[in-house]
Each structure stands twice: as C-alpha cells, then as structure tokens.
C-alpha cells in the first residue's frame, strides 16, 4: 500500500484511463474522489465496485469547465475525505476534424475541458497543497502533443499546453514539496479511441513497437508511481507511456 490514507481526486474518473487510475490509487490505499460529467451509470458502478472491495471512494458530478462548480466540488471532497494530496487532471475530450472544417465550438470545447479543466482543479487545490508542504499534481497529456495526427489541432494544442503548464507550475511549487508531472499516453484502448481503432486499428498496432495497444492500467501504474513517495524528487516531467509509438520507428 504505497498511498495509504492519502486523499486523491481524479477528474474524468468514471471511464477510460481515469477509471483505471481511480482503481489503482484505491488499490494502493488512497481515499479516492472522482469526478464525472455525464456517465452516472459508469460512475455508480465504479463506486459500488470499490466500496464493496472495502475502499473509500466518492463519486461527484461536476462540469470541469465551471470554476465555481469545481471549487464547490473540491470543498465537498475536503469535508468528507480530508485535504487533497493527489490531484489527477484526467478529464479530456476529442472533437477531431480537419482544421479547415473545424468550428470554433470544437476548438473551445476541447481547450476548455482539457486545459481549462486542468486549470480549474489545480487552482482549487494548489494553495492547500502548498500549505501542507506536500502534494502531487498529475496531468494526463498525450503523445499527440508532440507526435500529432491530422484532425487534431485542437487536441494537440490542449495537450501541448498541458505539458508547458506542467513545467511552469512545477517551478513555482517545487520549494513547497508539491510535484507537478504529466503522463503522455500513447494509443490506449478506451471509448475515446474507439472510432479511430475501428478505422485503423491494425495500422496503429504496426506502428507500436510493442505491437499492442495500451490499456488504462498501463497508464494507471505510471500515475501511482508519480503519486507515491518513490517519485518525490521528480517534477516538471512528461512521462511517456506508449509502448514506444512516439519513437517513430518504421513499421516492421
């Protein structure tokens, strides 16, 4: 139990990578609050599963783009579970389209959720972490920040910004024992990547040196590491977890 009695908050926790992170943090002994937007069923089933396993878990519905709602949500968690030690900014969406066709609403939705949501939750917990002189902020980025695909100008911009934000904030909070890191997953088998997988799953697999798609658990293990004391001297880094896809090797 590497995270015994730590209090963690994971955004976008009901499905996909976030769900895996919630489970992994809880399995290491953390009390975990997770945020979901629309997937109440998935959230309830996850909460029930973990409660049954004897974990402390709390599911909260919240729009990560709404700063006031986020503040209230963090206060609720602090009251029920205690001060938050670990924040995982995972909530993310895609609205892929070629740039020429991309609408302002697609641009704004992706930036506001992926980057704005990260800002809102970080803002709501950073001072309290600073006062406790201990905290872990883990932002879920993407290899798409650096190795992007057509149709993802908005997504790539949001993830590139998250990487820069991670480094800049790390510098400000380092002296207070708060580390800020990012994880850049490659191609992970989740609902978000379903459409692309259906279209080009075989080609993608050939591009991955490890010849398999990532699983939520692959990312969750990296998150547990960054949240643990083992990573206490690591800050401002983007940890790539992608089976080697970003190495850019030619398909064999």
């Amino acid at each position: 139990m590497r995270l015994k009695d730590q209090v963690a908050l994971v955004t976008g926790g009901s499905r996909g990578i976030g769900r895996g992170i919630v489970k992994a943090l809880a399995a290491e002994g953390a009390k975990v609050a997770f945020i979901y937007r629309g997937s109440k069923e998935a959230a309830d089933s996850l909460a029930a599963e973990l409660t049954q396993a004897g974990r402390v878990v709390q599911a909260l519905q919240c729009d990560v783009t709404n700063a006031e709602e986020v503040q209230r949500c963090v206060e609720t968690v602090e009251k029920s579970l205690g001060s938050i030690n670990i924040l995982v900014n995972n909530a993310g969406i895609i609205h892929d389209d070629l740039f020429i066709r991309l609408e302002p609403k697609d641009w704004n939705a992706v930036l506001q959720t992926n980057l704005g949501g990260t800002f809102n939750f970080t803002k709501a917990v950073a001072y309290s972490m600073m006062r406790q002189r201990k905290g872990r902020i883990i932002n879920i980025s993407s290899v798409a920040a650096e190795h992007t695909n057509p149709g993802q100008t908005n997504y790539a911009a949001s993830k590139g910004a998250i990487n820069s934000f991670t480094r800049a904030l790390a510098v400000e909070l380092a002296s207070r024992g708060v580390t800020v890191n990012a994880i850049a997953p490659g191609f992970v088998e989740t609902e978000m990547t379903e459409a692309v997988r259906n279209k080009a799953g075989d080609i993608i697999k050939k591009m991955i040196p490890m010849r398999r798609l990532g699983q939520a658990d692959d990312i969750a293990k990296a998150a547990v590491f960054l949240a643990s004391d083992d990573a206490s001297y690591i800050t401002g880094q983007v940890l790539i977890v992608d089976g080697g896809i970003s190495l850019g090797a030619a398909p064999v």
Partner: protein
Amino acid sequence: MPNRDEIYAKVSSTLQEALNVDEEEVKPESTLQGDLGAESIDFLDIVFRLEREFGIKIPRGELFPESIFQGDPDFVQNGKVTDRGIAELKTRMPFADLSKFEQNPEVAGISDLFTVEMITNYIQGKLDGKN
C-alpha cells in the same frame, strides 16, 4: 483588539508556519529574505495567512510593494535610491523603519526592510485603521 505583543506573537507563528522556521529564528529584526529564507511565493503565502489570521484584507502590493521602483529613473539612479525614491518609500511604507537604509540606500538593500517588526507595525496600523 490585540495588543502589540499579541500581534507580534501571531505574526511570528504565522511566519514559522509559512517559512518552516523555528521560533528561535524569528526575531523582530529578522529579515524575511536574508534571515528567514523567504522566496517570492512565500511572500504571497504570508499575505494569505496574515489575512486569514487577523481577519483583514491586504491589497496587492500594500505590505510588500516589491515593484516600487521597477525601472523608474526618478527613484533609482546607479543602483541607489534617490531622495525622491526615499520619500516615495516613506509614503508607501510608513510602517517600515528606513533609518538604516537611508545611510546606504542601495536598491539591493530594499529587501532588508522587510522584517518581522515591519509586518507587526503594518498589522498594528491596519487594525488601528490607519493604513
């Protein structure tokens, strides 16, 4: 209304928490940066904590007017604060003791004005409704 000793004690404990220093290290004449190791983010934290501790509002730049002379040649010449600059400091920081600084008004020495006593003076004035 707390008396001066009570204010000082609260300021001292606030600084101990914010800067992670021991009670013995905090003396009235201790400078925040030089003696107590404060960095820029600490100044912000100290302001937040003092606001909470004393139930007051500290407008940005009032207690720590760091940027007071940034790039203004009227106030600074050749790394030294001019007479006009010192007058400005006195107006902006009536709670600071400038007597030593006036003898050798180097810009680099401004940070030494930020002492535990200075904060105590500031809070006392604030609670008296003077500032």
